[in-house]
């Protein structure tokens, strides 16, 4: 089967970045990894691009997380002077950063498997594709998603309440 990779790139790049961003929590890194996924895809020429892309993306994100854990200290990029871009609205920027941080922490409350299933579903993968990638039975996807959604919402609400209480 011949895959139109230019088309696949246009269709899936943004989805991949979104998926990876929720794994690595660094927009720039997510973009780098998404491009790396496509570079590898061109080399491997898989028959089922969509499933392959997300499988490789998940693996890359996992490697990334492992290497981050191996670092003795966590480095947080706080400023990039090279880009020369400054937020047009610092308050909105801060708000967005805080929201993102809350989502990240809420997702961390989920088990790795629940989180993977939820994030894969959110990138429009079908139950069949999610089952193929995670090794879960297709019939278990609905139950896993139900549990993941519930935990995410509960954890997020709890964080938001704490944020409001702090003022």
């Amino acid at each position: 089967m011949t895959v139109d990779w230019a088309q696949a790139y246009r269709s899936h790049y943004a989805e991949l970045v979104r998926f990876l961003h929720r794994k690595v929590w660094d927009a720039e890194r997510a973009r780098d990894l998404a491009q790396e996924v496509f570079v590898r895809a061109l080399d491997h020429q898989p028959d089922n691009p969509r499933a392959w892309l997300f499988t490789v993306a998940a693996n890359l994100a996992r490697d990334e997380a492992r290497s981050a854990m191996r670092r003795r200290h966590h480095l947080t990029l706080i400023k990039s002077e090279a880009s020369g871009t400054s937020a047009a609205d610092p308050a909105a920027d801060l708000e967005r950063t805080e929201l993102m941080e809350r989502v990240r922490r809420a997702l961390e409350d989920l088990s790795e498997r629940d989180r993977d299933v939820l994030l894969l579903w959110d990138t429009d993968l079908s139950y069949d594709e999610i089952a193929a990638q995670t090794g879960l039975a297709r019939g278990a996807i609905g139950t896993t998603l139900a549990r993941a959604r519930r935990r995410l919402v509960e954890a997020y609400d709890a964080l938001e309440e704490r944020h409001v209480a702090r003022g």
């Binding site: 570079v39 706080i78 609905g142």
Partner: protein
């Protein structure tokens, strides 16, 4: 029908319950069961809420994909890089094989020449112990005795069977070609090319002649020199003439070096002073952060108010100077605010890329004439 489980309700909402008897039965049940209708509403609310939460984590601004051609170019560059590395490994193997063969043949001939002067192996009692040990040592350097033709044929058959496809065959051919090139290089490098070697180095006569030539006492040295020259040619050499660290001090002749540049341009900032690693560590009240894998060319410190800044100057393999400027956060200022307060030397001629990061209670600033991506990768290697 009993009550519907939560997983089925979510699958129904996700449109993953295939049309058929199961779905029809579910819809009929929902019409008559208030408990399940309520559960469905709850599931729907949960689903929508989780989607809206996940939406908040979408990176802004919207993702713009780089041109596809760029990805294709990267993929092509990588495949050619793999091929080059494979060839490079083959060359290295060929060199090793050539030298080992030459040394082995040399030892065999040496043994043969000495044989008449030595006692026959069948009369070990005629030799004193040191002589026997010496002979043993010499034999251990020589190649194994030639195996019988049947054994060689068997091995050849097995070897042929063990090659699963054309790729391996191609690799062997590649190896043979490289080995041949290596032999020519050795000959040219040693200046020993005469007769058959010079004219047709791959012929059996030339190989035999070369092997004899290499037994000459000077030949192995010359061959090794030739190999070293060839290897040196392949290895990227360090940039010469702009070393930041001189024999006795810091920054000798580096007009474009980051250190001088910092001192000259950022006139309001205190000058950097050369320091040892331990002094730098004391100033930071902790270990000095460095980029793992890059050579360290020197350390410098300076005081800014009550704070001390430390700079580590490192160099990439390509010779690009990278500054790792760092300082301890000593008050309640935000990391970003402090970053802006602390003077960081501005670049002199060309704008350098700068990335700032925070590690525990230290700020770290990386600066180099590299792309942001390259610098970001270096930042990840900070230890």
């Amino acid at each position: 029908m009993s009550h519907v489980d939560e997983g089925t309700l979510h699958a129904y909402l996700d449109g993953e319950l295939p049309a058929g008897p199961e779905r029809r039965a579910l819809e009929v049940h929902l019409m008559s069961c208030t408990t399940c209708r309520s559960a469905l509403q709850e599931a729907r609310a949960l689903r929508e809420k989780s989607v809206s939460i996940l939406e908040k984590s979408v990176p802004k601004p919207a993702v713009a994909a780089p041109p596809f051609e760029e990805i294709v170019a990267r993929a092509q560059a990588r495949s050619s890089g793999h091929a080059a590395r494979r060839l490079s490994r083959m060359r290295a193997l060929a060199w090793a094989a050539t030298i080992v063969v030459a040394a082995g043949v040399g030892s065999v001939v040496t043994l043969q020449l000495r044989a008449p002067r030595e006692a026959p192996v069948s009369q070990p009692s005629a030799m004193d112990e040191p002589a026997r040990l010496a002979q043993k040592a010499e034999r251990s350097l020589a190649p194994a005795e030639p195996e019988p033709p049947e054994a060689a044929n068997r091995r050849q058959d097995l070897s042929a069977r063990s090659v699963p496809g054309d790729q391996e065959q191609q690799t062997e051919d590649e190896f043979a070609a490289v080995s041949s090139t290596a032999r020519r290089d050795v000959v040219a490098g040693t200046g020993l090319a005469t007769g058959a070697i010079a004219q047709a180095p791959d012929t059996p006569a030339a190989v035999a002649e070369l092997d004899v030539v290499l037994m000459d006492s000077a030949a192995p040295v010359a061959a090794a020199d030739a190999r070293d020259v060839a290897l040196r040619g392949r290895v990227a050499r360090p940039v010469e003439g702009d070393s930041l660290v001189g024999r006795e001090g810091f920054v000798q002749a580096a007009p474009a070096a980051a250190f001088e540049e910092a001192r000259g341009v950022d006139r309001d900032a205190p000058a950097w002073t050369e320091a040892s690693e331990s002094t730098a560590s004391e100033a930071l009240e902790g270990p000095v952060a460095e980029i793992e894998g890059l050579s360290v060319e020197g350390y410098a410190i300076r005081s800014v108010g009550e704070r001390s800044q430390v700079k580590v100057i490192q160099r990439t393999e390509a010779g690009v100077v990278v500054e790792v400027i760092q300082w301890k956060i000593v008050d309640t200022d935000s990391a970003l605010g402090l970053m802006e307060k602390m003077p960081v030397a501005a670049p002199a001629q060309e704008p350098l890329t700068t990335l700032s990061a925070r590690r525990d209670d230290h700020n770290i600033l990386l600066r180099a004439d590299l792309s942001e991506d390259e610098l970001r990768r270096l930042l990840e290697r900070i230890r």
